[in-house]
């Protein structure tokens, strides 16, 4: 699914990712944990092609294709999805129009016809129900005036509608109460199958009680300093990150 080799990336002149390598097979869920400023969001941004995030060396292949050669929108249409740590408010642009344009772009890429407005409206309503968002949110501006939790659920709704091959969830759990957390986890778990892969970036073990990962990695100072199974998350919860940073240093 995703193969990252010796990735180095720079933001605003500062080297952030250093020789990062990571391989994800179809159907796997990888958790990435690590202290603030470790480079977790940077990894998600680099993978989705955000302007300003410069890859200085390394390779990334995504479903057998050279990911780094693709434009932002091509990556998305090809099936890469980033749930933003801080979803963006776009006043004046209706959530419904935005979602339909996104789904149509993906469908077109897959050789499918655009959905009729009627069918899409129906699908969007059903999906919003699944993430416990009132259908009224579909008419509002994209994330406009949404609470933190509503924004995160809107991200999960987009993920469900777009049916990506690789979903990167960047701290989707932070700022959520336990009910919202379970809604998010249920959404992810319902989408898990033998083809679809996930990178779950989180600060807390808590989310991983609900979304049980196949692998856990610790990112510190721009590289993966330790990898293990789901028990590694518990160890981190108990001991913090300090001992790992000491180990690396």
């Amino acid at each position: 699914m995703l193969d990252i080799r010796n990735l180095n990336a720079r933001v605003e002149g500062a080297d952030i990712l250093r020789n990062l390598s990571l391989s994800i097979k179809p159907g796997e869920v990888h958790a990435i944990m690590g202290p603030n400023g470790a480079g977790k969001s940077t990894l998600g941004n680099v993978l989705s092609g955000r302007p300003g995030y410069e890859v200085t060396s390394g390779e990334v292949s995504f479903r057998g294709k050279d990911l780094l050669a693709m434009e932002v929108e091509e990556r998305a249409r090809e099936g890469l999805f980033l749930a933003f740590q801080y979803p963006v408010e776009i006043p004046g642009v209706s959530n419904m129009e935005f979602l339909k344009a996104a789904v149509d772009a993906r469908r077109k890429h897959l050789g499918l016809e655009e959905m009729s407005s009627f069918d899409f409206m129906k699908l969007a309503r059903e999906t919003s129900k699944r993430v416990n968002l009132d259908a009224g949110f579909l008419k509002r501006g994209v994330n406009e005036g949404f609470s933190g939790g509503e924004k995160k659920r809107n991200e999960i709704m987009q993920m469900m509608l777009l049916e990506p091959s690789l979903c990167i969830l960047d701290e989707t759990d932070s700022g959520l109460d336990i009910d919202a957390l379970q809604v998010v986890a249920a959404g992810v778990n319902a989408m898990r199958d033998s083809e679809r892969s996930f990178i779950v970036v989180t600060h807390y073990q808590r989310l991983l009680d609900f979304i049980v990962p196949d692998h856990v990695h610790v990112l510190a100072a721009g590289r993966i300093v330790k990898s293990g199974g789901k028990e590694l998350a518990l160890e981190l919860e108990a001991k913090g990150y300090g001992w790992l940073e000491d180990e690396v240093a």
Binding site: E71, E73, R75, G92
Partner: protein
């Protein structure tokens, strides 16, 4: 100014006046017409150094060889050209009343030519008295030309149930014709009404000159919702003014949207005459191709405790030019004034141009005022967000530009206007002029 230009301007002034003189109207309007003629002829023609017309040359007007449009004309507009709205509707085609297309069975709304003696008295008391012809050159032409118009008079404590919907259509049959349009809105104390003015041309070929003037008198605690849509196409010349005087605690809620054309100059003049009056005015302008679109707004705070909020947003495409001049003048007695003005512009091409100038003149010390004018850029984070969901760069730009103006549309209380403009903008934005 050189002599040739001067002469052409003089010719235009005389020609326009001659046309005005040929217009037949009721004798009781003669006095206003006479005064208008005098002022129009005596007025200095604006040139580059005339502050109010600095960025808006009038050559396109002077070059036109205008005639008066006489015969009544029906037009067949596309089904969705007008709002589908339960309203008191008056349709004018090239300035002539179209009875068949109209539906105006309300005692509060009458054409000047049909006015009763009482209504005539109201017209005589207000018409031409609200507008300041010294500041507004084309208002004197409008006075000189006045022959018919619409009076909306709502008595004390009455709420007009249906909106008043005035439609002005220009058709290609009125080749190079001049049309004069007049409306007078008088709301007595605690009266309330809604007015929708809709200007359209049914062809890009229309190249007439439309001079419109709407005067509004709001009594104490009266309330007016006012929409004005200038949707005429490419070659039309439109000079339009809205002039309102607000008495104590009156409220004026205005919204204006204009697409560009060869020349459009739109003035709003709002005067807070009594304490506690409130005005908000939001506007959207969308010139493209080689169009010129000029908004001048001026709010006079003459009384204390009044509030004004003004938000204008424009997207200027291709080689078009926009002018926005927003003046707020706070007189010495107007303490406790709250006034805000914001103007933001998006340019979608290197050749697009905007001249924006907010002017605050404050002569009272206890006031809160804010103004700002910017040429904005599309938000790069929002661009990335949309593209990360698979939208192309062009799609994302179009969507953000649309959102930039739609923010003002989505607040409109009148759903039919909102939906109509929403559809219209979708078509306009699909042509890609407006993706920044």
């Amino acid at each position: 100014m050189n002599h040739t230009v001067d002469k052409v301007a003089g010719d235009f002034q005389r020609q326009a006046l001659q046309l005005a003189g040929e217009q037949i109207s009721a004798p009781w309007l003669d006095r206003l017409r006479f005064e208008g003629s005098e002022q129009w002829l005596a007025a200095a023609w604006p040139g580059r150094r005339t502050e109010l017309w600095k960025y808006t040359p009038l050559q396109s007007l002077q070059r036109g060889n205008f005639s008066r449009w006489g015969a009544g004309q029906r037009c067949d507009l596309a089904g969705d050209a007008l709002l589908s709205l339960d309203a008191i509707r008056l349709v004018f085609v090239n300035g002539e009343f179209d009875a068949e297309a109209s539906a105006c069975e309300a005692v509060e709304v009458v054409r000047f030519s049909q006015a009763s003696a009482e209504q005539r008295a109201i017209i005589e008391a207000h018409l031409g008295k609200i507008v300041d012809t010294k500041r507004h050159l084309f208002a004197s032409l409008s006075n000189a030309w006045v022959h018919d118009g619409v009076l909306v008079h709502v008595p004390r404590n009455v709420t007009l149930e249906k909106p008043v919907y005035l439609v002005h259509v220009s058709t290609p049959e009125a080749e190079a014709a001049t049309v004069n349009q007049r409306a007078l809105i008088v709301l007595e104390e605690s009266a309330s009404a809604e007015l929708i003015e809709h200007f359209i041309s049914d062809s890009q070929e229309q190249n007439g000159f439309v001079n419109t003037l709407t005067e509004i008198s709001l009594g104490a605690n009266a309330k007016l919702e006012h929409y004005r849509m200038n949707l005429e196409e490419e070659h039309l010349l439109h000079i339009g003014g809205v002039h309102a005087v607000l008495q104590r605690d009156a409220r004026y809620h205005g919204f204006t949207l204009a697409e560009g054309s060869t020349l459009k100059r739109l003035d709003y003049q709002i005067c807070h005459r009594g304490p506690g009056a409130h005005a908000d005015l939001n506007g959207v302008y969308l010139p493209r191709n080689n169009q010129l679109l000029d908004y001048h707004t001026n709010v006079e705070h003459e009384a204390p405790h009044c509030t004004t909020s003004e938000v204008f947003r424009g997207i200027i495409a291709d080689s078009a030019r926009a002018v926005f001049n927003g003046r707020i003048h706070i007189h010495p007695h107007a303490q406790k004034t709250l006034a805000e003005l914001s103007n933001r512009n998006l340019l979608t091409s290197d050749k697009a141009e905007v001249d924006t100038k907010p002017e605050l003149e404050i002569y009272a010390d206890d006031v809160r005022c804010a103004h700002g004018a910017t040429v904005a850029q599309l938000d790069q984070t929002a661009m990335f967000y949309l593209r990360s969901r698979g939208l192309s760069e062009t799609q994302a730009r179009t969507m953000l530009s649309f959102g930039f103006v739609n923010e003002l549309l989505q607040e409109l209380p009148r759903e039919e206007v909102r939906e109509h403009l929403h559809r219209r903008l979708h078509l306009l934005f699909a042509r890609e002029h407006f993706s920044a």
